[in-house]
Subunit: 352 residues, 2 copies
């Protein structure tokens, strides 16, 4: 069996690299969380430990393997989908969400992953961990498939609405650092989401952001339009969370729309049904990558600690990928790179 | 041959119902415009005339049929895609765009259709015709296919950015009137595009708009999200032109993205090529309705005269449909209904 642990035990130094898993987070918690943790362990080096935080009895029920590198930390409370994000820090200090994030804040662990209430994780992480020095607002991005085969990161997709130009600037910097270190793309290109390509288009906020990005340390490629996301015109598309969230949810609905279309066609008659049946594997293959659930979790960039947030319905595979991604972000010091990039003196236009 | 006409001749009263076609508007002008006009004529009653405005010699080249109900009005200048929208009224008074719109302003015609430079048509129409009394800002919407089979009107899709709550309110009213009269949907439902369904979500502008819409004469169904557009949750989705344009262009890019996916699959080998080949007619059928070009033109709502704007690459069929739609809008007095609806005293919350 895995060891039960305590905060005191975790506080001892030196300590291994640690990823905390909110074992009560997702719709199938703690089953998927436990299975995902053990799968991740197989791919992680011996220097990494996983801490499952949650109701110990519930978590233990699903543990079938043994490893000293998976530890359980009891948390009696569970945050649900209906909980008000802003109240968790004050009133839910015994929750797996709060206790898990507090381990990162205390320096007892390096990263935190959760498939729980997205708004709740976001708000609690920001309040418990604070921001990386120099970051105006933490952000969440999402990857879109493209015709180039290289995904585009749309950032922000809902963490912030009514963003100021400075926030959008910081999303661009954080997205660039993440894409460079985690996707291995040198000097990734950044586009500003707009209604036209020409400078001077768009809202007042976007116009001011254009000027800021021209002087920023990112590889700014100018304005891009809605059609450029799936085309993969740039590596990172920057926008306010209002339109980012609308585009993301619109995109997530396409697969369902297409399925409905194919089913309607199949229901026209036997021939049609057979034809669609024969073609199903091809459709599955071609439309894969449009299922945004496959991407697993996305990082909450800008908080002072590594945090990955996943879909509530995340599979054990998704949880595993979130843990591996979190460990990689720690190893590659993504947050340190963000801090250095935002602290660097900005180039002036004259120098360009 | 069709008759050449003059502004003096058109000024005589009583006059027939008249639709003006910008014969020089589209990428295939004046060919498609001429063909579309004659096709429309076959479906219009004898009380309707069509005026083709453009370079007479160019227009005449494409005229093969004869009808006294299609007249040609010469215009020596042509507005191109590169022309600055705001300068047309001042400097291009001999263009088909300006002369055509001026016929409507003078009361010599009832409606104007063009497949030219969208920004140019929009700006010139607004300046030449002015607004319907009570309308804060004219708007352009676009229809999206849905799983219910009944299209959703997204409005605004780019005519306005940084819209004030009052503008969004007026888009909702105009969209409702249009949908009711032209689509035949009694009391169509209106949703406000947002990042969540709960009241109190979103930007400051959206929150204020929510309050306005609650007291408006439209059938307000509350907030909707990006995924609700293709689901057809409501008949009309109201948003600022910034996000509306981004969503429209994103949606327009889906078909190309899917085609690319299917072609990539077909290129994997002979079997794959045969399979995709066999399935092509089904795909065409299933994906139809996602081709936003098929919808032909969209009305510029809120200007004091009927104006329909089409895609530059519009086919003769698209032009025909634009003319028929324009004539129908005149016949059903959509603009009169908009004016009456915006003039009606608003219900207060207490009365609801």
């Amino acid at each position: 069996m895995s060891t039960t642990t305590t905060i005191e035990a975790l506080a001892q130094t030196p300590r291994p690299r640690r990823v905390v898993v909110d074992a009560m987070g997702g719709d199938f918690a703690p089953l998927n969380e436990v299975q995902g943790a053990f799968r991740a362990l197989e791919e992680l080096g011996p220097e990494v430990e996983i801490i499952l935080v949650g109701r110990e009895a519930d978590v233990r029920k699903h543990i079938t393997a043994t490893s000293s590198r998976v530890k359980i930390l009891n948390a009696t409370d569970v945050v649900g989908m209906g909980d008000e994000p802003s109240s968790i820090v004050k009133h839910r200090k015994d929750s797996s969400l709060y206790i898990g994030l507090d381990l990162v804040r205390n320096g007892h662990a390096d990263a935190f992953v959760s498939s729980g209430n997205t708004g709740g994780v976001m708000a609690t992480a920001t309040m418990v961990l604070g921001r990386i020095p120099g970051v105006s607002r933490p952000t969440i991005g999402s990857f879109f498939p493209t015709t180039t085969g290289r995904p585009t990161l749309l950032v922000d997709v809902g963490a912030n609405v009514d963003s100021k130009p400075r926030f959008l600037h910081d999303f661009a910097v954080m997205g660039s650092v993440y894409t460079e270190l985690m996707q291995g793309i040198a000097s990734p290109t950044v586009g500003l989401l707009n209604v036209g390509e020409e400078e001077g288009k768009g809202t007042e906020v976007v116009k001011e952001t254009y000027a800021l990005l021209k002087q920023s340390p990112v590889n700014f490629a100018g304005n891009v339009e809605g059609r450029d996301i799936l085309k993969g015109t740039v590596d990172i598309v920057v926008c306010d969370g209002f339109e980012g969230n609308i585009v993301l949810k619109f995109a997530e609905s396409i697969l369902g729309f297409l399925k409905h279309r194919f089913v309607s066609y199949a229901n026209k008659g036997l021939m049609q049904k057979l034809l669609i049946g024969a073609f199903k594997p091809v459709l599955k293959r071609v439309l894969s990558g449009m299922d945004y659930q496959e991407y697993g979790g996305v990082p909450l960039l800008g908080v002072n600690g590594v945090v990955i947030i996943g879909h509530g319905s995340g599979s054990p595979l998704a949880i595993k990928n979130m843990i591996l991604k979190a460990e990689e972000m720690v190893r590659k010091d993504v947050n340190g790179a963000i801090q250095r990039k935002l602290a660097a003196p900005r180039e002036t236009r004259d120098q360009q």
